[in-house]
Amino acid sequence: MDFLNATILLLNYIFVPALAYGSQLALGAIFVTLIYGILRFANFATGDMMSFGTMFTILFTWYFQSVGISLGVLPTALLAIPFAIIFMIGYMLLIDKFVFKYYRVNKSPPVQLAMVSIGVMFVTQAVVRIIIGPSDRRFFDGEKFLIKAGEFKEMTGLNEGLAIKSTQVITILVTLILVSTLFWFLNKTKTGKSMRAYSDNEDLALLSGIDPKKIVMITWIIAGILATIGGALYGLDKSFKPFTYFNNMLPIFAAAIVGGIGNPFGAFLGGYVIAFSEILLTYAYRKFFMYVLPESMEPGGLVQLLSTDYKFAVSFSILVIVLLYRPSGIFKGKVL
């Protein structure tokens, strides 16, 4: 019984939250990795592009709520996401046409493109704050919990409750569907294959008749979809605040590099690596040991490896270690 309780405890406080958070990071990391693999620059506007997409999701959600459309138990935002994606893709293509294209055509070094992306970051951040403001916004509606902690306790008779938020389930499901579609697209379709070829060797791909304009456009479209959905899921699960989104750029970068930048599958797993290590290392295991160990050996302190203040620091330290020992990431990067 104690063992079961301990397992449920870990599931409730570590496994489920980390899985949801990891999925949100994974989507962002794939976004970063795609841009890096095909357009060949580190996109510092990642966090703000995600907040831009989320902003449209929120605006559409508000609109639907005001006209009385809802999805019942599901959050209305799910209905708003497709419309937000359309606007987001428009914005991405607009930025590409007026900003990034010039440097791509001139074959500027990646560092210059990264600098340009900082300019885009400033502009996007300003636009988001001017349109929706810098404050914290919650746009979740519908059923909040799939299983409530109290119900679970009653159902199983255990001491520990397991609470699963519906947003966590939605996040994980949507991520799985989206990522598997993406991998199917990259590995099986002709366009996907030409994208991989372009990422692998640009000149060779051009020689074999691949149209770079089309590749770039599709990359931005996929990136727009990933950014909007990733951002909206994060906002549903936690809340939307432009500053938090900007900060999320950092663990996302960490996930992309840990997984091997340019490698979407690596980025996907990297998201979970970062999320799990952040939560595992900062969780206080006291209760867990109280269940598992006999009473005489009960720990005195919180049995916390690091205080939760160092949540971000954990993922960055992992990144530094990975960069030192395997600069190409855990799953060999730079092959799309």
Binding site: V111, G119, Q125, A126, I130, F253, A313, L319, V320
Partner: protein, 456 residues
């Protein structure tokens, strides 16, 4: 003289703008803008040495700034005797343990060939060391943080004049840069950018949460000043006389004695804060000029030539027998040290240390905008960038307000759109910075004052 005309013109316009602010808004605002411009200029000089001279991208500016600020606290605050008694010995012992750990790792690195076993040994040493240090330091940290937490709750500093912290801040930042450089300089440019950005976040996390050292988010306020206090100035005779002399003509217009006295008092109060700011401006100006002379000398020295050679073609420089790795490390440390000075200067001017205010937007990316806009590789350009961008950053809100009022002139004052836009005026500065950066990158990629190398 003629070839420097654009430099002189650019600086003239900049000074004119600040003087205009002084005339139309107030001299207080103008001087505080000017002071922060000077501090920004020091930061951009640091970043410019790394980026402009050597092509090293360093997104960790925020971390070095914060370390410089920390130096200001550790140098100038009086030591908290009780805290030292409570937990000082534990902290000192932990410090020795850390040094011992580093030495042990170094010993293993030197003694054994690179192998898997060596990696594991090092990992074990580090993990064991961290666990032991935590056991030793925990009671000490708790004891220290319990000493009068509302006022102190930290070890305090050395109680020296705060000016010393400018040098110590440089040492701190340089030391950190040395460690980061050893670890990360081998990375490719964009990896280096991300790595330094993340490491600076780690530095901020440590400063924010190690309360025994920095007081964390409780902030340290009321730091000593290198300049006189306004309150003291207002009671000093020579200062009152000086203010009287300055405003002689205005005061003479007032015939009534009490009114004249009241007006004088007003002038003294205003004058005192202007005077204090002028003191700071003088100090900062000295630093900027010294750094400018040194960096200019370095730029035209054989060493500067070598740095440009390394920047423009690493392999060729390497083939000529230049030690690229060592020079990169050197310039990384130098540039970061300069940023550390700026960090200490900033805290000196504010008189308070607020770890929560260090954000990458303000302390990393904005500084980079300054470097790019001003002109990388050109020290005059870097300083000008600091001035222009900081000036716009501050004046963006009034300009934004003016523009909003202009474009929505046809709308009613209570119109929702107009109200919303006026509320979001503070964010126009981001828009302005972003568009400015994009335009400069596109149409003048070398900045306002581009790099110009004369062969002498």
């Amino acid at each position: 003289m003629r070839k420097n005309l654009n430099v002189i013109a650019a600086y003239g316009i900049m000074m004119g703008l600040i003087i205009l602010v002084g005339i139309f808004q107030s001299w207080n605002i103008a001087l505080s803008i000017f002071n922060l411009c000077l501090i920004s200029a020091v930061m951009t000089m640091g970043a410019n040495i790394q980026w402009g001279y050597a092509g090293l991208i360093n997104f960790g500016i925020m971390g070095y700034t914060a370390l410089g600020g920390l130096a200001a606290v550790l140098i100038s605050v009086n030591p908290v005797q009780e805290a030292w008694n409570a937990g000082g010995s534990n902290i000192l012992f932990s410090l020795f343990l850390i040094i011992g750990m580093v030495l042990a790792v170094r010993y293993v690195l030197k003694k054994y060939e690179k192998s898997k076993i060596r990696t594991y040994i090092i990992a074990t040493i580090i993990i064991l060391g961290i666990i032991i240090i935590r056991f030793v330091s925990e009671p000490g940290i708790e004891a220290i943080e319990e000493v009068d937490p509302a006022k102190t709750g930290f070890l305090g500093g050395l109680g020296l004049p705060i000016i010393f912290s400018w040098i110590v801040g440089a040492l701190f930042a340089g030391g950190l840069a040395f460690v980061i450089g050893k670890v990360a300089l081998g990375l490719r440019a964009d990896y280096l950018a991300i790595a330094t950005l993340l490491i600076s976040e780690i530095v901020i996390a440590i400063i924010k949460h190690e309360d025994w050292l920095t007081r964390g988010v409780k902030n340290v306020i009321g730091l000593k000043r290198p300049a006189p206090y306004e309150v003291n100035l207002q009671q000093t005779d020579w200062f009152i006389n000086l203010v009287e002399k300055f405003n002689f003509s205005k005061l003479n217009l007032i015939s009534d004695f009490t009114e004249r006295q009241a007006a004088l008092n007003q002038f003294v109060i205003e004058g005192s804060s202007v005077f204090v700011k002028l003191c700071y401006s003088g100090l900062f100006l000295i630093v900027v000029i010294i750094l400018l002379i040194l960096t200019q000398k370095a730029l035209y020295s054989p060493w500067g030539r070598m740095m440009r050679a390394i920047r423009d073609n690493e392999e060729a420089a390497n083939a000529m027998g230049k030690n690229v790795v060592k020079q990169h490390l050197l310039i990384f440390v130098l540039g970061s040290a300069i940023v550390g000075i700026a960090g200490a200067m900033l805290v000196t001017q504010d008189g308070l240390f607020t770890p929560g205010s260090y954000r990458p937007m303000r302390y990393t990316f904005l500084i980079w905008v300054m470097v790019i806009v001003g002109g990388s590789g050109n020290n005059f350009g870097a300083i000008l960038g600091g001035f222009v961008v900081w000036f716009l950053w501050i004046e963006a809100a009034p300009i934004g307000l003016y523009l909003v009022n202009l474009t929505t002139a046809g709308l009613d004052d209570t119109h929702a759109l107009k109200v919303h836009l006026i509320e979001s005026v503070p964010y126009f500065r981001f828009l302005m910075m972003g568009i400015g950066l994009l335009l400069i990158m596109r149409y003048r990629p070398k900045g306002i004052l581009p790099e110009k190398i004369e062969i002498k």
